[in-house]
Symmetry: C4
Subunit: 215 residues, 4 copies
């Protein structure tokens, strides 16, 4: 199960199931912490069903940014699990690459709250995009590192194809996010809507594409 080298670094960080466990844990918590940013409107001032409904409507930006970030985390979690279908070995460096990935996962509840609080500022969109970009960057490095060190387990002839598919996916998605974020110099809401549409495309539109494939 393990090969022992002569330095501590050669024996550390080799347990892939633990990497998956800590990742699932951090993702699960980040997904759930997001909801803490949606505060229940307090009761004293609210006297009618109508007033309560209005107070709920006022939370819409919070719900939107919650949904946006749930999508973001879902997309990166799916990307993470997809890579780990193939990655079946690890070392100390891959271990730390995953931890840095989780660093940016755990920052997302902050950048999300920052965006929903300051939705009319370019800086908030920029910060949110930066978080997505860093997630994409680290997950790309993770794959390249694992591939170069041959920590990938799949039939040898499929490796180049899988390598190409995973890399291309990240690069195209990140290009779209960057373009979406750049739109904030024209109009901030346009920028956010385009980013949400990109997310939805990755989560949902695939249903239709699949149907086309199977025809």
């Amino acid at each position: 199960m393990t090969t022992t080298g002569s330095t501590y670094n050669q024996i550390a960080g080799q347990k892939v199931p633990r990497l998956e466990a800590i990742s699932d844990g951090v993702f699960a918590i980040a997904l759930t912490l997001l909801v803490l940013d949606i505060k229940v409107p307090m009761g004293e001032a609210i006297k009618t069903e109508r007033a309560l409904f209005d107070s709920l409507c006022n939370l819409m930006p919070k719900f939107l940014s919650y949904f946006l970030s749930f999508m973001t985390l879902g997309i990166f979690w799916t990307g993470h699990t997809t890579q780990f279908i193939y990655i079946d070995k690890s070392d100390r460096h891959l271990n730390w690459i995953v931890l840095f990935f989780l660093l940016f996962v755990s920052l997302l509840p902050f950048t999300t709250a920052f965006l929903s609080e300051h939705i009319h500022f370019k800086l908030s969109v920029g910060l949110y995009w930066l978080n997505i970009f860093l997630l994409g960057l680290v997950i790309y490095i993770q794959w390249v590192y694992a591939y170069r060190h041959d920590y990938i387990s799949c039939p040898e002839e499929q490796k180049p194809l899988i390598n190409k598919l995973i890399r291309k996916r990240i690069i195209i998605a990140q290009t779209l996010y960057a373009l979406g974020a750049l739109l904030c110099f024209i109009n901030i809401y346009l920028s956010i809507i385009v980013i949400i549409l990109i997310q939805l495309n990755y989560a949902l539109a695939l249903f239709s594409r699949r149907r086309k494939n199977s025809n």
Copy 2:
């Protein structure tokens, strides 16, 4: 373990144990976050055992809605694990169906707090019911999707029976919840009590039914 197609979507989201891990994580956090809504009454004003006891009694609605939501999450978690006794394959779409299911799981602490803060409004009951309904809808879609794509692992002759049992269970439960929620047009507290009784039936009454069976 995996079959490789020619597009990224065909290789993504196939790891069932990860789906189970992220689900258990989100459920565990949602179950525990619920308690954060029960605030400890602060000490300065409370000078006697009697005053402390009264402050504890004032928290009863919070405890009730906590208990209600713990039941709700327990019921859906049990439903989720029951489906995954049989579901042993996955693809990208099932992956996203589970993530949407978790979206509504992680919203439950919010709708619960909303209900306990505004327990005298029909809107709160409606919102809480909507959350339960969406959980039921997505878990139903999850099963139908998995069944249609033959991701189910059990003896071939038992499949139709299991399919029927799981579908019927969700539909009956959801019908009861909807009827319970509709009662709020007569009386809100009646509506909540009926929903709690339905929950308790699914969690507890089975003990007695089982005893009958084994006689």
Copy 3:
């Protein structure tokens, strides 16, 4: 892996690893949420190292109740894992017994905060004890249920011994807790100290006892 009956209840809740996963999740979160009750003293008023040290000392009751509850959760988590060394089958009822156990686990951060906020009241000690008692009661029911339904996996001749050891442990511990809690009618602090000593005995004193055994 599963035997299929004719009702939904006979197919639900049979996955032991999921029961262990959700339990570890809830315990991990409860263990960590406890610390949120220890608030960092705010900086403006604190101008010297001495003042900061005093503000830290003022947190001592919080640290004590944190430690107390960490012990409590540790003891019950150890008890839970010990039972699940042997329990290797489950059904819907055992599933719900575990969920009720987790209900009381997730309430412990509340009763702990309640105790540390109102440490000079008998009611707080009583509530805290009630939480420990209910944890003990449910974990006892869990074992008895699993044993009676023969969900236990170990060499047949060891079963009665293990059954006796696990039952006796819970009953003795609960008797000691109850006696400790009753002391609050004499003196509340005495009561809390005795409960902490019982906890420490279960966590630590064993070291010395073991050393005696191996001599």
Copy 4:
């Protein structure tokens, strides 16, 4: 899988996968709770992009201590997983050693918040160092205990080397942390920067060292 003794203590705490699961859970939550200390600056007073940028800059100490503690937790998590590559048996005492380790893991969000709130006091640095020291102490005891009781699984001839590597690593790291902490008697910021540099060395500098090795 288990050997049954005549006392409860001999049957308790033997499940290594559960120890790993609860550890991953507590680490995942501690890693993510850290971010709750970074509060989003509120919107009313902020009227320009510039003002928003300034409010973000004011959060820099929070981000730094967040990063510092993420590194700390990452280092100890890696250390923990590395030991558990080899530790494949457990008993009640090892079980409690791991729980005490997790006690200090779950305290880190507090000592981190304490440090970032009172960064100009020696006491904060001292408390933070104490937390790191106790983590190091318990993980050292964990290894020594597991090694002495022969709970280690690896080829017999490699055991002394692995034992030496793991021990040496902890002792050197703890010596560096202690020296770094002592620097606070000269200058507090110097002390913090040195501790961060030690952390970064353990997380990152290894990349370069590895490259040297493979040349």
